[in-house]
Amino acid sequence: MSILVNKKTKVVVQGITGSEGTFHATQMIEYGTNVVAGVTPGKGGTSFKPEKGKAVPVYNSVKEAVQKTGADASVIFVPASFAADAIMEAADAGINVIVCITEGIPTNDMIKVYEFVKNKNTATHSVRFIGPNCPGIITPGECKIGIMPGFIHKKGKVGVISRSGTLTYEAVWQLTNLGIGQSTCIGIGGDPVIGTRFLDAIKLFNEDKNTEAIVMIGEIGGSAEEEAAYFIKKHVKKPVIGFIAGKTAPPGRRMGHAGAIISGGKGTADEKIKVMKECGVLIAESPADIGRTVEKALKKIKAGKSKKGDVKKSVLKKIKKIKKSVSAKKNDVKGKIEKKKASKKTVKKKNKK
């Protein structure tokens, strides 16, 4: 299991004929993603031919692509000045998962997009928007929607959510090298207005039976990490491992991502880490320690599960020993045997505790 996307997901690529769209559509298809359609207004009726695999039909609109192919997810590679429109087009066409890779969309446009997409959610239809300015989402071995390198991932049971691109790859790579696979990894993006926040992704991972632990990689700016931490404290029983980038970032400076800025003394790494720790999130102090912190947390779960088993084993061993000695000393004084039996009982009692 996974969240949001899996091998059944049918993907439409908006901007498939542009250079970014072409390159990454090819990569996605090679990974095994079920890319069913492309959209480039004006190029409808043509087709996109990847190096390997079958040709992908190109349509003039997302609506048409959905009608003809049943696409339910979309990935957007169109330039920033057209991206807001592309997201809303996808939402209007009935797409369920919209991933926008494009960087540099004006904030005021995103405010409108956020509201528009939110209002497309009804009792019977759900729309999940991821990004913009993000690497995308991947369910290892099943479906890659975005620009992340596929090979660093491994199928497994750890959910990963992150505001950053390459820092996510770093964390995922650490996990994979430790033999820890991922259920789904989502890059939510570093802009001030994003479709899916930490809180939303945490909720989904919390409900996913196959996700055993959650990694959240945040950074300075805003208060989305804190918001998620309070939810985790109340509702999440799975271990959550966190890292916040930007402890050494100066206030008032935008650190690359439009949203990564400490303003008015708010949104510092220390403040976030403090709240996360208070809410029970296990913090990796160094970016080099993310994988190991997850490993430790997983071992703890395992130890918790197998502890009872270990006790049982040791009790059985003791009983065996006692039985042996009993049979060996069959002819021993009766009282001695009684004593051993009593000790057997106490062991059992301990076990019950």
Binding site: Q27, A80, S81, G104, I105, P106, T107, N108, D109, M110, I111, K112, Y114, E115, F116, I147, M148, P149, F151, I152, S162, R163, S164, G165, T166, L167, T168, Y169, E170, W173, G190, P192, V193, I217, E219, I220, G222, S223, A224, E227, A245, G246, K247, T248, A249, P250, R253, M255, G256, H257, A258, G259, A260, G264, G265, A269, E285, S286, P287, A288
Partner: protein
Amino acid sequence: MKIHEYQAKNLLKNFGVPVQDGVAITSIEEYDDAVNSLLNRGINQYVVKSQIHAGGRGKGIVYSKDNKHEIVVEGGVKFIGKDVQKGKDYASKLLGNILVTHQTGDEGKEVQTLFITEGLDYKKELYLGILLDRTVSKNVIMASTEGGVEIEKVAEETPEKIIKVWVDPAVGLLSYQARELGFGLGLEGTAFKEFVKFITLLYKAYEVTDASLLEINPMVITNDDKVIALDAKVTLDDNAFYRHKEYPGLKDENEEDKLELEAAKYNLNYIKLDGNVGCMVNGAGLAMGTMDLIKLAGGSPANFLDVGGTATPETVENGFKIILSDKHVKAILINIFGGIVRCDRVALGVIQAAKNIDIPVPVVVRLQGTNAVEAKKILDDSGLNLIAATTLEDAAAKVNESLSSVE
């Protein structure tokens, strides 16, 4: 992008927002003309205001540019009244000197532009701010009766004195919301009506200019009940410049760090810091993570530098140039997570760049991803002063070693 008060007021005037009027000058020779042009508009008392990208100007201290311990004058903004010569003397003390406020840091900022404005008589100072509320992804208008002071302080000490109204992006600011703010500020009669007009125009200006922050502190109620922006602070959204072709021209390069400007020419996202270890990273999040790692390794980051996704020989070479122009740099850490880009190619690029320029400090290169092992071998065999690392931990340790070898 931040702009100056006088630029912000010019933008607002285009939308009909009433602002305290004035003339900007960059040399004392222009002073008389500026005063005369105000006189012609019927203005006969003045305020002289330093134009720097930082708040707290009024309470700031002006130091001599030649002697950083010599105080030239106190206050970077002054009400002059009618005395033209007094204003000129004050203006000459500001221009070319260094203004230090609570927002500039100790190094302060050189005053290169002055705004000579009308002096208004007013009875009330109020606060107005418009910005994005990230928690709800909507713009919020904040108003307070505590104008003229630091709003952060008000927010912390008396949050009940800040009134907030969230704007629905689909319909914009509604009249009842404008009234809500006006009543909340305790306004009535003419002032109330003027305020409702003021905030409606101001919000329009915020939206149309694609501002990401618009702060009027203070907004004043004059003795004759006019509502006027006495100060204006505007930050524009760089991402929206494609629809505002004239805005990039508002950039004051004097306000920017020279190295950062140079880096921007190469399309590098560079921010100068005070440390001793330079770093070059692909991706903003990993760049911040790398800075943190340097600190944990016992150094302190000299910069933030995101070279973007590809890390070609050119970007790496330019990155070296920028980092090495900072003389405090004692070691460099290159951290590239090669995803779709192959690490061996990046390694060749690093070597090519390292051959082209003289690098007097040890360089730790950590490449991870596709073909990382091959990349390490290429670096090890290069015969250059490059120290290859594989994991982040390894990189941190090698940075630490390099630093202790330098010291």
